[in-house]
């Protein structure tokens, strides 16, 4: 069934593309993402979300204007390939907008091209804090990786005395380690009693957590890449009985990603995480988004955070197209994008900070609970109200 849906959705792109060529004014959007290799799951959801947005908002386009989405596969963390694809899209296809990018290194490799060709480039993911500074034509609609750890740290420091930090041994892991600690230590007396950086291919976390069990911190902060790694981590945490010892596990939303909750099972109940999006939110926009997604891709497909990020990105592009009445010019597009605001995003109110071109959004504290028999990340508190990535904030002066 899923397979056929995928074929249908591909057919939908093709039909959009074919229809596009017939119209007078065609705006081209180049989408570079991973539909093979690492990050495939998020990559496919980006494409699905972009298509869904386009199908639902056809009527909003100015008369005689059409939008053509050109999808390219970078095959995972592969900067050279991404740069080559971007060059092709800019030179041969003459795209008006570039977007996509699961991987921060891929976006970084494209930055010089965006600058030189003056192509507005909208980051649908690529969260490494520094990324946004690499080109004046970058606008980020996802998140900066320092944000959630910082506000989680701040929140945790007010409640717990001692913490242990466990992160994956790569760039975003270092950002998370540093900014959780900064946030945590903003509270007097809060102390980090230990830390570990775990290789990115770790499948078995028990040995690392055995150490935590002996140190007995009040709170254990973890950052690992979204997906199965988080599942394994939580599993090991429970196997060792750390929760029963009174150690509280907290993390970024990556350990309880919406789409992984079913495979985590009841082991996830009570986990506290900070993230900018939960599909279980009570907002009308979130519910509408979920309903549209379920209608298009079936009830069993659970949108991850990459989907609303792609959705909002497309909304900003459409806003730029509509405001310019279908005749897009790159600097004018940038002006509109950097002033983008929306209160209809599935993640609540968001806006682009005009100065840094990075996103401002809420960081929510969520707890995993059972809602109507299904596990869900229930938002219980806003720990960062319309905040910018703290690294970007510090380095923009």
């Amino acid at each position: 069934m899923r397979f056929f849906k995928r074929i249908l959705s591909i057919a939908a792109v093709v039909s959009v593309a074919v229809a596009g060529t017939a119209a007078a004014e065609t705006i081209k959007i180049g989408l570079i993402t991973s539909s093979s290799g690492q990050g495939t799951f998020l990559g496919e959801q980006m494409i699905q979300a972009a298509q869904l947005y386009m199908n639902q908002n056809k009527d909003r386009l100015p008369a005689g204007t059409d939008v053509k989405l050109i999808v390219r596969d970078d095959g995972g963390p592969n900067p050279d390939k991404a740069r080559q694809l971007a060059q092709e899209l800019i030179v041969r296809e003459k795209v008006d907008f570039l977007t996509g990018f699961i991987w921060s290194p891929n976006a970084a490799a494209v930055a010089p091209l965006s600058t030189e060709a003056k192509v507005p480039t909208l980051l649908m993911n690529a969260g490494a804090s520094i990324n946004i500074t690499l080109s004046p034509y970058f606008v980020r609609f996802s998140m900066g990786t320092s944000t959630a750890p910082f506000y989680l740290g701040k929140w945790a420091g007010a409640r717990f005395k001692t913490s242990y930090i466990a992160v994956t041994d790569y760039g975003p892991g270092f950002d998370s380690e540093k900014y959780f600690e900064l946030g945590f230590k903003e509270n007097a007396g809060a102390e980090v009693v230990g830390r570990v950086r775990m290789p990115i291919n770790t499948a078995d976390f028990v040995p690392y957590l055995q150490k935590v069990k002996e140190l007995k911190p009040d709170v254990l902060f973890v950052f690992v890449p979204t997906g199965r790694i988080g599942v394994n981590f939580v599993k090991a945490f429970n196997d060792l009985g750390l929760a029963k010892q009174g150690i509280k596990l907290v993390g970024t939303g990556d350990i309880t990603a919406d789409e992984e909750l079913p495979s985590l099972g009841d082991a996830a109940l009570g986990l506290l995480t900070v993230h900018h999006y939960s599909g279980a939110a009570e907002r009308q926009a979130t519910k509408d988004f979920n309903a549209a997604w379920a209608a298009a891709y079936g009830k069993d497909s659970i949108p991850s955070f990459a989907a609303p990020q792609a959705w909002d990105t497309m909304d900003a592009i459409y806003e730029a197209i509509i405001a310019q009445e279908g005749k897009v010019e790159s600097d004018e597009s940038m002006e509109i994008l950097r002033n983008y605001k929306s209160d209809k995003s599935p993640r609540g109110t968001i806006s682009i900070d005009p100065k840094t071109r990075d996103i401002r959004q809420n960081e929510y504290l969520r707890e995993v609970r059972k809602v109507e028999g299904r596990l869900a990340n229930v938002e219980i508190e806003i720990v960062g109200q319309q905040v910018l990535d703290p690294w970007v904030e510090q380095n923009s002066k």
Partner: protein
């Protein structure tokens, strides 16, 4: 002391899983001189068999383990007859290419059927949580792995050292031409051994679902560590594979516990140094 006990316990569990998966690879490499890099594929199939039979059809855990063994046995047998047997005696390059190709096919098929995400299954309640024995906490699942692994080792040792079939296998490993000339049907021995090796890999993959996450990239992701066990143990040696698996399991766990800053570097470094000194591995023929 407590720390050492914990490291030995976790390391032994990991080592057992490695052993059950790699013993088949070591034997087939020793027996047929076939570098089957796609061995991890059978472990992955075992993992998926367990997950599907338990998750979708509600098969009880012990039966699902058996099913995983049977499924990968069958797959091993069919592939050996149809594909592998045609490449015995070919150059290593041909063998490596065909087995790498198989991995790609397996990854693509698995991704199409099960999707790119990792699969998980809930273990039966009697294997969840911890057992409190001798004043210490033992993770029930890992105790189970160690016990099953130990039983398998005994069974294999008995099969290879004490049965007629085992004697034939040993003869074929030592000197194939001579074994053939005294009337041992080596081609049948190859098929059966390959099948058994694949089945054990499947069982290991199923047994280790919580240690080596089951997802499409499995055969590549764990290829290096499987090959390390085989190389360290000495190709074709049951005993060597066991000690190598245990050693790597322990070293990996100890590194993670005491010196996580070094990551896996120390483990790889030690293996390189050791193989430099003894290229034949722990118990392999020293050439």
């Amino acid at each position: 002391m407590l720390e050492v006990i914990n490291v030995v316990f976790h390391g032994a569990a990991f080592g057992m899983v490695l052993y059950v998966i790699t013993v088949g690879l070591s034997i087939t490499m020793g027996l047929m001189r076939f570098a089957n890099l796609a061995h991890g594929m059978f472990a992955m199939v075992g993992g998926y068999a367990l997950i599907v039979s338990m998750g979708r059809y509600g098969v009880p855990y012990p039966a699902a383990l058996g099913l995983a063994f049977v499924a990968s046995c069958l797959m091993g047998y069919v592939l050996e007859r149809l594909l592998y047997s045609r490449f015995y005696g070919d150059s290593e390059l041909a063998q490596v290419l065909i087995s790498i190709g198989l991995i790609f096919v397996a990854i693509a098929l698995v991704r199409m059927v099960f999707g790119p995400q990792s699969q998980r299954v809930d273990l039966p309640s009697y294997l969840q949580g911890q057992w409190h024995i001798f004043g210490l906490d033992w993770i029930a699942y890992r105790v189970f792995i160690i016990v099953v692994g130990a039983l398998l080792i005994l069974a294999l040792w008995f099969g290879i050292e004490r049965t007629r079939w085992g004697a034939k296998v040993r003869a074929a490993v030592d000197n194939r031409a001579m074994a053939q000339s005294i009337g041992i049907d080596t081609s049948r021995i190859f098929s059966l051994t390959f099948m058994l090796g694949s089945g054990l890999a499947g069982l290991g993959g199923a047994l280790g679902v919580e240690l080596l996450a089951v997802q499409p990239g499995y055969p590549f992701e764990f290829l290096v560590i499987f090959l390390m066990v085989v190389a360290l143990g000495g190709i074709g040696s049951l005993r060597g594979t066991f000690f190598a698996a245990l050693l790597i399991g322990l070293a990996d766990t100890a590194c993670k516990y005491w010196i996580p800053e070094l990551g896996s570097f120390l483990l790889y470094g030690l293996v390189i140094v050791f193989l430099g000194l003894r290229p034949g591995g722990l118990f392999g023929a020293q050439t």
